[in-house]
Amino acid sequence: MIRRVLAIAINTFRETFRDRILWSALVVALVIIAFSLFVGSISLGQEARMVVDFGVAAIYVLQIFIAIFIGSMLIYKEMERKTFYLIIPKPLRREEIIAGKCIGLSATVLTVTALSTLALFTVLFVEGVHGFYLPILLSIAYTTAESVLLILLSILFSGLTSPILSAVYTTAFYLIGHSSETLRAIIAATDSTFTKGVLQTAYYILPNLEKFNIRNEIVYGTHPDVRSIALVAIYFVCYAIFLFLLARAMLERKEF
């Protein structure tokens, strides 16, 4: 099973790595990181924070972009080009295909994240800004986890609809996922029991992606304790399994 998943993962990694969109996105991220030097130089006394803030944000946007836009093409492209006709009849379980696709694209995200993080650390080193390395790595680990959830969402939608609609739906979930607090405020302000019930169900089913946002904390020198890291890790694993099972059910039902 592991060999089959790895075979699909390596092929997905190879395929996404040849995507020009990926390299264009990476160049944009690197330009933003370099631009942070200029922004830092014009901000009075806040050079280090500006460089860290800009750099971490650029890496985050890069990860989310890859997860949503390249992820949205993954399954759809295989169905559209009919390359799946050569893969599906092989001794492969549908969940192995989902796992392989997710691992392959996650490996792509990790690789470009590593490259852009290296660029950010180089900038910080040249600027003589020290002490942010570990918190930055922690923040990037959080956003990498978020991008894995978005990859699974993209895979789920890309098996159901066109790449454009899949990207739209995943972006919608991404935005909702970062509005959980707003949803909670609406629930608190609602009087109707029915509406409250519906919104509460939505609150628990929809992803709470704000859990993966510690960018502000690290800029201001604070970071989460071990307990909250463990809770976020548990949330990530549970939600990833939930999305994986949904994506598996989608591909299981699919006919070609």
Partner: protein
């Protein structure tokens, strides 16, 4: 012993005007080691039948047995090969890299040796290290056949393997078929190129509008007709006239 058995196989698709049957109540049994040609006009249900046989589509009704098991069974899938109509590949890979991917999925022992053997078998060794995007139609068909043969299958499903090939390409692919036939591999192939079918097949099935019209040896089917093509056209016309 039969390698492929279909009993009452039906496939319906839901449309706005209600369910439409692509395949109706199809029952067939192909003995092991036979080459079976499945013939029919365009849209007759050949490809739908093959998709159900290899697990790309699910039957609405009926049963399929391949080597005594279900096509969805991983152990059964290890024993058959499938080449779709006009196979589509990952164009950025080389032929050899693509076969390596398939060998990894099958988790084959001695992958490199087997890949070289299959490449020799389909006469593609000279182009194996070129990107697939540079391949001609004939080379793509050969690579399609190579990936179907990689696991040394007992049953081979080929959807229009001769389609779009020039006479030389068809002759090469037919030669490969005959080698497979010598190895006693059960071959189930769809085609509408009838001259080739009568040369290669032990058994022929004719399908029209989703229903089986005839199932026999090529010699019996052509009895009283000049060739298989004439017999095929007569049978389809007669069947359609009876329906109306």
């Amino acid at each position: 012993m039969e390698s492929i058995v279909m009993k009452g196989l039906t496939k319906e698709y839901d449309t706005a005007s209600g369910p439409v049957a692509a395949v109706r109540d199809l029952s067939l049994a192909i003995p092991s080691g036979n080459v079976f040609g499945f013939l029919g006009p365009n849209g007759s249900g050949k490809t739908t039948t093959m998709k159900m046989l290899v697990g790309l589509a699910r039957p609405t009704k009926g049963e399929i047995s391949i080597l005594g098991g279900s096509p969805s069974d991983i152990e059964v899938r290890k024993q058959f090969g499938f080449m779709p109509e006009s196979p589509a590949f990952y164009l950025y890979l080389t032929g050899r890299e693509f076969l390596k991917l398939i060998a990894d999925i099958f988790d084959l022992a001695e992958k490199e040796r087997r890949i070289s053997e299959v490449l020799d078998e389909v006469e593609l060794s000279h182009s194996a290290d070129r990107q697939i995007r540079t391949y001609s139609k004939g080379m793509l068909q050969r690579l399609g056949l190579a990936q179907a043969l990689l696991n040394d299958p007992k049953v081979l499903f080929l959807d229009e393997p001769l389609d779009g090939l020039d006479p030389l390409g068809r002759s090469d692919i037919k030669r490969i078929f005959l080698r497979m036939k010598e190895k006693r591999i059960t071959i189930f192939f769809n085609s509408h190129i009838l001259a080739d079918v009568s040369e290669i097949c032990d058994l022929v099935g004719i399908i029209d509008q989703g229903s089986l019209v005839a199932f026999d040896t090529p010699s019996r089917l052509t009895k009283g007709s000049s060739d298989l093509e004439t017999a095929f056209v007569d049978m389809i016309r007669k069947k359609r006239a009876n329906r109306t």
